[in-house]
């Protein structure tokens, strides 16, 4: 399990490289075909700035070569915002006095119909972490109900056991997304003071459990800005590398959520600028050449249009981050975070086309699940 491997990683050494990467390190990384984590760190360091055009061009070429001029489109479906956790940065934090909803099966159907009508065939089920409302039988039933409409169904919910993931896989779920939020253990404890989420290692081993249960695609990431973003990004890179090696049948994806304003008003410790995020995306493309890289509607339209060719292969569009948000304008449910790119999926697809890229709505088939 990754928690055992994680213990052997010298975080002090990673920090040392973060603080001491030079222009020569960046140049060396640029010249290599297979990068190690030290190269990755060099590429996201301040020393990389002067080489940014070269790094970006390499990332763009590799992306086109491996994935073509296509972007896979997906949409999140928030099924519940009840949560027993107390993450200090999140609007769904159980201490926040916000509207809460867990969708009924009828409501799920309506939301799914609205999402499918926009063209989406790849769906991500998202929920807060409260098993009294949103447990494995509920998620399995939702997946089973939605499978005829969608080619691929992913989950981004509380960490489950291997058996629970197997149940979801049997009911048509093929992808799992789980963010560690931060790999800095002390900070992790500090920002997750209550609820099951405070168990660092249980969360860290979630991708292993998902892969062992037969999930085809596993997405990882951190909440950029929560801790030292370079250290966190380096840890994601190492985690991705571990997953690719140990679960060679599983496709690994990486997302880049930046900490956003939400109910509770938490401020990031280490804000990530647009330029830094751009460097991180390019560095992941060069380090994990074959990974799916995801950019969500947390980022502005302007930023997304500018950076997507340099590594991104999957994007969401038209997202609603509150349960019922697609069909129920009156929903009392609070949003998890405010989206920045509020264009319709069709508008996003048209913009991609203008840049010479095809929005792909279906790149999976239920027969493969």
């Amino acid at each position: 399990m990754y928690s055992d491997v994680f213990k052997t990683i010298n975080q002090g050494e990673l920090l040392h490289w973060i603080e001491n990467s030079t222009a020569a390190d960046v140049q060396r990384a640029l010249g290599k075909e297979k990068l190690d984590v030290r190269d990755f760190i060099a590429l996201i360091s301040p020393s990389a700035d002067e080489f940014l055009p070269k790094i970006a061009e390499k990332a763009r070429q590799l992306t086109v070569q491996r994935f073509g001029r296509t972007i896979l489109m997906y949409a999140p479906l928030y099924v519940s915002n009840y949560c027993t956790n107390a993450c200090v940065y999140c609007g769904f934090n159980h201490g926040n006095d916000v509207g809460r909803v867990c969708l009924t099966f009828d409501e799920v159907e309506q939301e799914a119909a609205a999402i499918a009508a926009e063209g989406f065939r790849h769906l991500l089920l998202v929920s807060g972490e409260d098993e009294r409302y949103c447990d494995t039988p509920y998620l399995a039933a939702v997946a089973k109900q939605l499978k005829p409409r969608f080619s691929s169904i992913g989950v981004e919910v509380q960490p489950l056991s291997t058996e629970d993931y197997s149940t979801l896989v049997e009911n048509g779920v093929d992808a799992l997304t789980i963010y560690q939020e931060t790999y800095e253990q002390n900070l992790y404890k500090h920002v997750h003071p209550g609820g099951k989420k405070s168990r660092f290692a249980w969360r860290l081993d979630t991708p292993d459990r998902g892969a062992q249960a037969g999930m085809r695609k596993i997405g990882i990431g951190v909440l950029l800005g929560l801790g030292n973003f370079r250290l966190d990004a380096a840890n994601v890179a190492l985690h991705a590398q571990y997953l690719m090696k140990n679960y060679w049948r599983t496709q690994v994806s990486v997302s880049f959520p930046r900490l956003r304003e939400a109910a509770g008003g938490y401020q990031p410790n280490d804000p990530v600028s647009d330029k830094d995020l751009f460097k991180i995306i390019c560095a992941f493309r060069l380090f994990t050449v074959d990974a799916v890289l995801v950019l969500s509607t947390r980022e502005s339209a302007k930023f997304r249009d500018l950076v997507f060719p340099y590594g991104v292969t999957q994007m969401s569009a038209g997202s609603r981050t509150n349960p019922g948000g697609y069909t129920n304008a009156e929903s009392i449910a609070e949003v998890q975070f405010h989206i920045e790119d509020d264009r319709t999926p069709d508008e996003v697809a048209k913009t991609l086309a203008k840049h010479g890229y095809e929005a792909v709505w279906k790149d999976w088939d239920k027969l493969l699940a």
């Binding site: 086109v64 070569q65 491996r66 994935f67 073509g68 001029r69 296509t70 080619s151 085809r216 690719m244 060679w248 049948r249 599983t250 496709q251 074959d290 086309a353 010479g356 890229y357 095809e358 792909v360 279906k362 790149d363 999976w364 088939d365 027969l367 493969l368």
Partner: protein
């Protein structure tokens, strides 16, 4: 040259360039590139298309009166999944040709020889015309041939790598031994690579990435058509043997006593 047809399972093809449909910037560019390639066999990933509503997607862009639409099982990790996809394609009205791809590793997309052979044996029995994508393994090719596959499709180098023919030694053995057409699939990054495969005696080549992601996919498709044809013509003309010793071009001229 007009009689030089490629024959697979009784069907004749004038063009020896097969084209893949993934990775294009739009269906329109894809269609223009296919036209320019003059290809008569176009592969389509079943996982990408809506067989329930084919008018919605790329299938509608392909002229099937002229072109054989070859569905492929890309994404299948096991024989079972590949078989499921193949059966589904046939039940949805596709011809019973199938490009068999079983690639459990999503990174390099290298084919699984064991699962591919298993799936091939079953699909052939079910009446499919099976064109398996495989590593350049001569013995596996013989097994697939014995199982009744219509062709073998060994890779030149990993999919999308554009590295050209890195499996030359094995490809030569495969071509020498094969009783079915050999189609070099994957890794061909330039028209010269296609020419090289054809000069070696391959019966056809399949190209996707190198055309789809070229600066000008339509012009590149045309270039690949020419490369493929040049290689074929060179093969038929019988290439002069290589030699490391310089020879006078007219040997007799060098004979001093004549």
């Amino acid at each position: 040259m007009s009689q030089d047809f490629l024959t697979i399972a009784g069907r004749q093809f004038r063009s020896r360039l097969f084209v893949g449909t993934g990775k294009f910037a739009s269906n329109q560019i894809m269609r223009q590139a296919i036209d320019a390639s003059e290809s008569e066999v176009v592969t389509v990933a079943l996982r990408r298309v809506n067989l329930d509503a084919p008018q919605d997607d790329m299938l509608a862009s392909i002229d099937i009166s002229r072109i054989l639409l070859l569905p492929n099982t890309a994404g299948a990790r096991s024989a079972e999944e590949a078989i499921r996809l193949a059966r589904y394609a046939r039940s949805a009205g596709c011809p019973n040709w199938i490009k068999l791809e079983v690639t459990p590793d999503p990174r390099y997309l290298l084919p699984d020889p064991i699962e591919t052979l298993k799936a091939a044996e079953i699909l052939v029995k079910e009446g499919f015309i099976v064109l398996p994508y495989i590593n350049a393994d001569p013995i596996l090719c013989k097994h697939l041939e014995e199982a009744g596959c219509a062709t073998v499709m060994p890779l030149g180098s990993p999919i999308g790598s554009n590295k050209g023919i890195k499996t030359r030694e094995n490809l030569q053995i495969i071509i020498e031994q094969a009783k079915v057409p050999v189609i070099v699939d994957a890794g061909l990054g330039a028209p010269s690579h296609a020419a090289e495969a054809m000069e070696m005696g391959a019966d056809a080549v399949l190209v996707n990435t190198a055309i789809a992601v070229a600066g000008n996919p339509v012009a590149m498709a045309r270039a690949f058509a020419k490369g493929t044809q040049a290689g074929r013509e060179a093969y038929l003309a019988a290439l002069a043997p290589e030699s490391s010793i310089a020879e006078a071009s007219s040997p007799l001229a060098g004979l001093m006593w004549s």
